[in-house]
Symmetry: C2
Subunit: 427 residues, 2 copies
């Protein structure tokens, strides 16, 4: 067993380099592991966690107690709690990942070229993935499952509040990997809560291929700023719904309601509603009644306030705000172009929707709005890996390179060229 | 006309920011340009260049004269020269790019999800591409063509030796863009030879989406080190051919000859030959005769030197060397595993080949060798965009994220999620 809980973590750079080297070595073996073996490992891990529920509960209780003593807020304590129902959901998630098709090894576009060679692209693991997250301990299993299934070794760094819970989950993962005959170094949990470990992890270019941060904007911004390893991320979700002059009013009201109020905190919730001046009379009074009823604070441009008397005046900062709260910014626009310009200027290239019956404008919206998800006549709330049929989600990316939008197993892989010849040489 | 040759370049940061802002604005229009218009622009550019041959010749003569006065080496002067034949090839290349299928707008995998929404992925331009290259002025048109066809605005920074040639080509490109009614800011050539401009370009995260450096290793290493914009690149091409015990000797000799000697300087030329101990008697004496005949210096491990008496002793540095010259490192290995381990340890994840008749080992080689191109029974020299059927190539990437291997039009695009509903909301 190369991994050892007795490794010194006094020398953080050395400790992280060793973690990285072990992960790199494990990734070589994982690359060649067949789907059956990876699924067997996931199943073994689920069985180990299921059998260890009492240990998980006491580890989590210790985290919660320490959290209360440190005065953590109730929402934070809630995120930290591993209730039996959450453990059920966590294990069900890992079993679902085992049931997903394995993306590794798929060869696309294999074609003969004029020289006689056959050329295609094969999907392969990225190698080593570093995941940095905050308090929710169930992310430990979720991230480990997705990385394992996609053939990647991973290094997981959870929040210090959840250290005992994460260590208990990590022990079960190691046991499950060993049960299935897979290297325990396939999943390593950083065993120090020292923040310096994060600084080292995001600069381990020799042994880490990508960093995926999950958490608040300040965490992600800091990581993106300091990392030399590539980062798959999104910072903001300033999402828009644009109700066009040619919108069906009922669809428009249903979508603008759902996108804002179905849940307030997710990154794919609408923050700004744009309404074509010709649609305003039909939709704004109806929407205002709904938002008022649900306690949503409305902040509008002057034209909006002609239709919604109790809306407060929006200022320029509202167009760039990610409220993640029962607040909405509303702007009346003169035409389609102004709406698209507003979105490309103030949006975060996350998720934006148009409501229109016009095929022409729907086509234009898809081409001209430069966001990771662009929707026609559907709520922005659909933008996640499960709703998109990915089966799972490690996060949402607003990067232009590599994975864009919800990231599932495929986003944890890359493609290399494969060539088949029969002694072919280049002329 | 927003672009102006009279812009001051005294303040480099300000100058580069303005270039970036103009490129970003142009990219918004390019994103929505249909294939016909992009092809018309390419055709107009080719016509303008064809008509400007005398101007190109005199600009290039000025560069050559200045180069000779500065004592540039003959190979450098040769790369700098725009002969009539090279101009022909350059224009033919741009016409070929116009004839390629347009990758932009292609929607993959559009499927209904259980909620009733349809979800797919649409291929879209990256946005703004910065290309930094050395002396060859034909790269100016090549890079501009590929970026334009893929819907990207570009900022081109060529070598200072080719400043007059690049400016003459850039003028024709601007004229051609104007002829076709496309924003002249779609292709901008940096008009200062001050190196500080490169430093600014690679940090323009607000307006540049990706940097593609083309040139020597030291240039690329420096850019990769300092850039905050993502870089698509490769540093080394330490490419291997592994001749397995189950190799057909004739194919093995033909491939190992071609991979080394067809041309010495390309990054996909073989640098190290690995030979299974059982194949050594059949292939090493035959290959030695060929290499000796062609003047290739052989550097071998002790076992190699038992078969090739005139091979010099290789030391550890030879296994990591990218010679790009008539020198080859040769190592006899005990088994398949040792060969794969050598490649993954000493290679540059660029291009590696196996010669074998064993289906089992071919499959394993594809899965276990972690390189951007992996070949079975074919020469490493095939690893380029033209031979792979991409129709063109902006470079070769050994990155794991985004594009890996030869990069054509598709590597200059990304995919966003598109969703079609009919008033769908999330439950």
């Amino acid at each position: 067993m190369s991994h050892s809980a007795t490794d010194s973590v006094d020398d953080i750079p050395l400790y992280m380099q060793r973690l990285g080297a072990r992960a790199r070595a494990a990734s070589t073996a994982l690359r060649a592991l067949d789907s059956g073996r990876k699924n067997a490992a996931l199943t073994a891990i689920v069985a180990r966690l299921d059998a260890a529920r009492p240990a998980l509960a006491s580890a989590n209780a210790a985290d919660l107690e320490r959290g209360r003593a440190r005065g953590l807020s109730e929402p934070l304590l809630d995120r930290l709690a591993l209730t039996p129902a959450r453990i059920d959901a966590m294990l069900a998630g890992a079993s679902q990942v085992a049931a997903l098709p394995d993306p590794v090894g798929e060869i696309d576009g294999l074609r003969y070229q004029p020289s006689g060679i056959q050329v295609g692209q094969m999907r392969v693991p990225l190698g080593v993935v570093g995941i940095i997250y905050e308090s929710r301990p169930n992310v430990t299993l979720e991230a480990a499952s997705l990385c394992l299934k996609s053939g990647n070794a991973c290094i997981l760094r959870g929040g210090s509040e959840a250290a005992a819970s994460n260590a208990a989950i990590a022990a079960c993962i190691r046991d499950g990997l060993r049960d299935a005959g897979v290297s325990e170094d396939a999943v390593q949990v950083v065993e120090t809560t020292d923040r310096a470990a994060v600084g080292e992890l995001i600069r381990l270019t020799a042994s880490v291929d990508v960093i995926i941060p999950r958490g608040g904007k300040s965490l992600i911004a800091r990581i993106a700023e300091e990392a030399t390893v590539p980062v798959i991320k999104h910072l903001d979700g300033v999402c828009h719904v644009y109700i066009d002059a040619a919108a069906d009013s009922d669809k428009a009201v249903a979508i603008a309601d759902n996108a804002k109020t179905q849940r307030y905190s997710p990154c794919n919730a609408m923050e700004t509603l744009l309404v074509h001046v010709e649609a305003a009379p039909q939709v704004l009074p109806r929407l205002a009644a709904i938002y008022r009823d649900k306690g949503v604070e409305m902040r509008g441009c002057p034209q909006t306030r002609e239709w919604i008397a109790d809306a407060v005046a929006a200022d320029e900062t509202d167009w760039d705000a990610e409220y993640l709260a029962p607040i909405i910014a509303i702007r009346v626009v003169e035409d389609f172009e102004q709406a698209v310009d507003h979105i490309n200027r103030h949006g975060s290239q996350h998720t934006d929707a148009i409501v229109t019956e016009s095929v022409t404008l729907a086509r234009r919206f898809l081409a001209e709005v430069d966001s990771s998800s662009v929707l026609v006549n559907a709520s922005t709330r659909f933008a996640d890996g499960f709703e998109y049929g990915l089966g799972a989600e490690i996060g949402i990316s607003t990067n232009k390179l590599h994975a864009r939008g919800p990231v599932g197993l495929e986003g944890l892989t890359t493609r290399k060229y494969v060539v088949f010849g029969d002694g072919h040489v280049r002329q």
